[in-house]
């Protein structure tokens, strides 16, 4: 859903509404695995392999996948916390790191991240107000002004500054700490916030509170979210578009309705069918998928899903499938639904693996 009409004009907007806020091109990161007596490189983990996507202004792009699919590595690559082997970022039309583009530190002002572990992502020795004020302070704001901003932010995320600002992280509940982390991410007034499993560790009743807060903040502050999660329900609830990753590659991307109602990739279908049903009368009867995801150290050649795919043919082991429009495009099909699968019959087989 391209919610152009809902996007407010941002004074920092440079490229106009049609210019995606972030374009990711051919992002790649291989980690060496060292071992043996001489600590030589014995293998490579292909954590993120040729990942490209774009995030539109004002949308929520969900990235979903299982452990080892590279979604968290992608987040850290985008924040430049680890250096990509190759690939480039374009932020609002400006290439990042290039001579004519914006610098990495400028990018980090515009793009911030909330981590999964609410406890370890806050300095245990700092009162929370100082943790939030830290970044503005280091970027040149006076101590008093930074503190005032931190207290405004605390109020915005639903924590009364008078009561909470001098608290230490261990004196807060998990939900309260995650609110502090959100406030900290907003302290530099970013335009894009990466939420890496930001609600996954919370209790269900608290998760709903934080999701409401995130939606409210997005509307108020004109934010764009990159929402990374393994929780299919949460991604469906909050995202406008979805990116499905498997073993370091994107296997399918498209509007959330299209992905959830007509998944084309056999993996996406299996993933959705594995979701607990919430209805005791419609329990899962047949296994959507057997086995665990393969080890990313030596991923299968060609299509990485082929070892678990019931449709796999010879071509799947030889050629890496690229992201293309599905074969049987109906008239009403959205144009930005793309799938990385060679086989038309596999793409069209919707319903076969559906919940019994």
């Amino acid at each position: 859903m391209f919610a152009a009409s809902q996007v407010k004009q941002d004074p920092r907007d440079r490229g106009g509404l049609a210019q995606p806020l972030l374009i990711v091109e051919g992002l790649k990161k291989y980690f060496p695995v060292r071992g043996g007596v001489l600590n030589r490189q014995v293998a490579t983990v292909q954590a993120v392999d040729d990942v490209s996507f774009s995030v539109r202004k004002g949308e929520v792009l969900g990235i979903v996948g299982e452990s080892g699919c590279g979604k968290s590595t992608t987040a850290r690559l985008l924040m430049q916390l680890i250096t990509p082997d190759s690939g480039g970022l374009v932020f609002d039309g400006d290439p990042v790191g290039g001579p004519r583009g914006i610098s990495i530190s400028e990018l980090r002002r515009q793009m911030q991240m909330v981590f999964q572990d609410s406890f370890s992502s806050l300095n245990p020795r700092m009162p929370i107000v100082d943790s939030i004020a830290y970044a503005p302070r280091m970027h040149g704001l006076s101590a008093a002004a930074a503190r005032e901003r931190a207290e405004t932010l605390l109020a915005q995320v639903g924590l009364n500054p008078r009561q909470y600002s001098r608290r230490y992280p261990h004196e807060l509940s998990g939900g309260q700490r995650q609110r502090v982390n959100i406030a900290r991410a907003l302290a530099l007034e970013p335009r894009l916030v990466i939420l890496d499993e930001a609600v996954s560790a919370l209790d269900k009743s608290v998760e709903a509170q934080v999701l409401n807060l995130l939606r409210e903040l997005k509307a108020r502050l004109n934010l764009t979210y990159l929402f990374i999660s393994h929780d299919l329900n949460v991604v469906e609830y909050i995202s406008d578009r979805v990116l499905v990753m498997y073993l370091g590659r994107v296997v399918e991307t498209g509007p959330v309705e299209a992905i959830y109602s007509r998944p084309r990739h056999p993996y996406t279908r299996a993933l959705l069918a594995s979701k607990p049903t919430l209805d005791p009368d419609r329990r899962t009867r047949h296994l959507p998928l057997t086995g665990d995801p393969p080890n990313p150290i030596n991923p299968p050649s060609g299509c990485r899903f082929r070892t678990r795919c019931s449709f796999a043919q010879a071509i799947c082991s030889e050629v890496i499938p690229s992201l293309l429009a599905p074969v049987d495009l109906g008239a009403d099909a959205p144009t930005d639904h793309l799938v990385a699968c060679h086989l038309p019959e596999a793409q069209a087989a919707f319903g076969e693996h559906d919940v019994a």
Binding site: M79, N123, M126, H139, T152, V157, G158, E171, Q176, L221
Partner: protein, 303 residues
């Protein structure tokens, strides 16, 4: 930020699960725990009195620690005018112990402070930078680790010649590698915590991150370790003096006193044991104090 409204009750976080009292803060909590720890309080008091006696030695000891007399050699404990007896040249033991505390404490604590500054700096740098810098610093330290610390100290002292400052220098060199290793370990752990990543992601400089986020989380552990090193340092420096490599006679120093009283062990065993007892008590107290600090600082931060 101006467009943001103030506290909005509609989005308010859940009512608090904790009492709304202001938090005492980390160091205050550590202090409160220390006050409840009787053993640590006691050893700290002993150490403080030793330090006070050392500083105000002329007040506590009226005798001259260097003035001997052949007439008053090796008097037992309880002798009139020399309540702890005299040594083999007739010098007052109490005076020598009081003045000796100065040199012994200096020789014990200075190497630890020097190695704390140098080793701590190298260790934090190695831990935070990682990669090649880490490899270079840590492999260099490994070379020093190949020698037992006492042998290394003796070798360096032998090379530099005897004297207090050379002994201090030798011990500093000996203590740098373990100090580097401990600071590197705690820094490496802290560096991979999410809040340091978050600080990096906010685009602040390395120095700022180390100052605000890394040091506050590693300094405690490093200081505790340094305190425990003091006891070893006192023993080692006394050992060097005992071997004639540290403080030179006739200066009063516990290790040196132990050496010169050694011949009197059959004549006045109690007097001869006094310097050793001082070394033992002081180093033990430093050790127990360091244990107490470690316990008090190990506040379980997770709820």
């Amino acid at each position: 930020m101006a467009k943001l409204s103030a506290f909005d009750p509609a989005l308010a976080a859940p009512a608090d699960v904790l009492p709304a009292q202001p938090s005492p803060g980390y160091w205050k909590a550590v202090g409160q725990r220390l006050l409840r720890d009787k053993v640590t309080l006691a050893v700290t008091a002993i150490l403080l009195s030793i330090i006070i006696i050392a500083i105000f030695a002329p007040v506590f000891a009226i005798q001259d620690p260097l003035a001997g007399s052949v007439m008053r050699r090796l008097k037992p404990i309880g002798t009139e005018g020399h309540w702890l007896g005299t040594d083999e040249t007739g010098r007052d033991i109490w005076a020598r112990l009081c003045y000796g505390a100065r040199l012994s404490l200096i020789a014990g604590m200075t190497p630890v402070m020097i190695s704390l500054v140098i080793g701590g700096f190298l260790g934090v740098t190695a831990g935070y930078m990682g990669g090649l810098v880490n490899t270079m610093i840590m492999r260099t330290m490994d070379v020093f680790y190949a020698f037992p610390s006492i042998l290394l100290a003796i070798a360096i002292c032998g090379l530099l010649g005897n004297g207090l400052s050379n002994a201090i220098l030798a011990l500093s060199i000996v203590f740098i590698p373990p100090m580097v290793r401990i600071s590197e370990t705690v820094t490496t752990q802290a560096r991979h915590l999410d809040f340091v990543e978050a600080a990096r992601a906010s685009g602040t400089t390395t120095m700022q991150i180390i100052r605000y986020h890394v040091l506050s989380n590693v300094l405690g552990a490093i200081l505790v370790y340094a305190t425990s090193l003091i006891s070893l340092s006192i023993i080692l420096s006394a050992g060097l003096s005992f071997l004639g490599l540290g403080v030179t006679p006739p200066q009063p120093e516990w290790g040196l006193m132990l050496n010169s009283l050694r011949q009197a062990i059959y004549v006045q065993p109690l007097v001869a044991a006094l310097p050793g007892a001082c070394i033992f008590v002081t180093s033990m107290c430093f050790n127990l104090m360091s244990d107490g600090f470690r316990g008090a600082m190990d506040v379980k931060l997770n709820k």
